[in-house]
């Protein structure tokens, strides 16, 4: 899968690396700002209060 991605990228090796770094940064920020907060709402919340 990732090998195929590397093959379809155009340009010299350093151009491909540059494209991948930019794409990775975009994916990481999307995860941090949208995906993770959303996942966080779904996983069981911790309970910190005392109650009957």
């Amino acid at each position: 899968m990732y090998a195929a991605l590397w093959r379809v990228l155009p340009g010299a090796w350093w151009v491909r690396v540059l494209i991948l770094v930019v794409a990775l940064a975009a994916v990481l920020s999307a995860l941090e700002f949208w995906v993770f907060p959303w996942v966080d709402q779904i996983v069981a919340p911790q309970d910190v209060t005392v109650s009957q």
């Binding site: 093959r7 709402q41 919340p45 005392v50």
Partner: protein, 262 residues
């Protein structure tokens, strides 16, 4: 576009069976290969999420809460009109107005938790509308700061700002400050207690003494224990020490925190 050409250049069909097989294994995407890479990706995703939830987001949320608190304090400074009456350590002012659920009405400062520890306290202990926003939640059945009885608040230990991550590191005599529009209530940390999640006695006006008439002004912090678990609750108690009216400015110990210059 260039892929077929490249493949042919590397392994022309004239090379026979071996060459064709090599071309196929290199050029084709196998189910097992994709599955393996997807699983590795999923594993990295989970690790990234945990890193975000347990570490990165605490820093982000903590900074937001700190900035909010500094602004809130300055708003209160501007709203304060004229000199307040002389400090009366025996009877500090108490909020009498009804505070709506999830409304922020106070700020918490604990020097032991760091010079930039400055967090809002909201009414109610709702998980989504208060606690998961990184705010501390005031048990609505308990008393207000400075009142005879118990000012009980809850917060997450880790994640969502990690407000009470270091609750177990409090030393006897450490100061816990609660700031309201009126000024700063200084409490002194007294002791820790570990209870079951049903141990509601800790937020009684006199902790663990249901029905007894309070003569002290207490603060109770509750969080989960141990880390990453909801098996128990960790409780920190403090007793009221002094009150500093807003007109007098913040106590020296927390002046840098309150003005945001820490």
């Amino acid at each position: 576009m260039t892929v077929p050409g490249q493949d042919q250049a590397v392994a022309p069909p004239a090379e026979g069976r071996r060459g064709t097989a090599a071309t196929r294994s290199r050029g084709r995407i196998s189910v097992a290969g994709v599955l393996g890479e997807l699983l590795i990706t999923a594993g990295v995703f989970v690790l990234l999420f945990l890193g975000w939830q347990q570490w990165l987001n605490d820093i982000i949320v903590g900074t937001q809460l700190h900035n909010h608190s500094v602004q809130q304090s300055q708003t209160w400074n501007k709203a304060a009109v004229g000199p307040t009456k002389a400090p009366q350590p025996d009877a500090p002012p108490v909020i009498t107005a009804t505070i709506a659920n999830a409304q922020k009405f106070a700020l918490l400062i604990v020097p032991r938790f760091g010079a930039d520890y400055y967090r809002p306290i909201a009414q109610g202990t709702g998980v989504r509308d208060v606690l998961n926003k990184g705010e501390l939640g005031h048990y609505p059945t308990t008393q207000m700061p400075g009142a005879l009885g118990n000012f009980a608040i809850a917060s997450h230990r880790k994640a969502y700002g990690g407000n009470l991550e270091h609750i177990n590191e409090l030393h006897v005599g450490d100061h816990i400050f609660v700031e309201t529009q009126d000024g700063w209530y200084q409490y002194e940390f007294r002791n820790l207690q570990y209870v079951n999640p049903t141990g509601v006695g800790v937020i009684d006006p006199v902790p663990e003494q249901a029905g007894l008439q309070p003569t002290d002004r207490m603060i109770t912090l509750t969080s989960c224990n141990p880390f990453f678990s909801t098996a128990e609750r960790i409780i920190a108690y403090g007793s009221f020490d002094t009150f500093t009216p807003r007109a007098d400015g913040p106590p020296a110990e927390i002046a840098a925190t309150v003005t945001g210059k820490s």
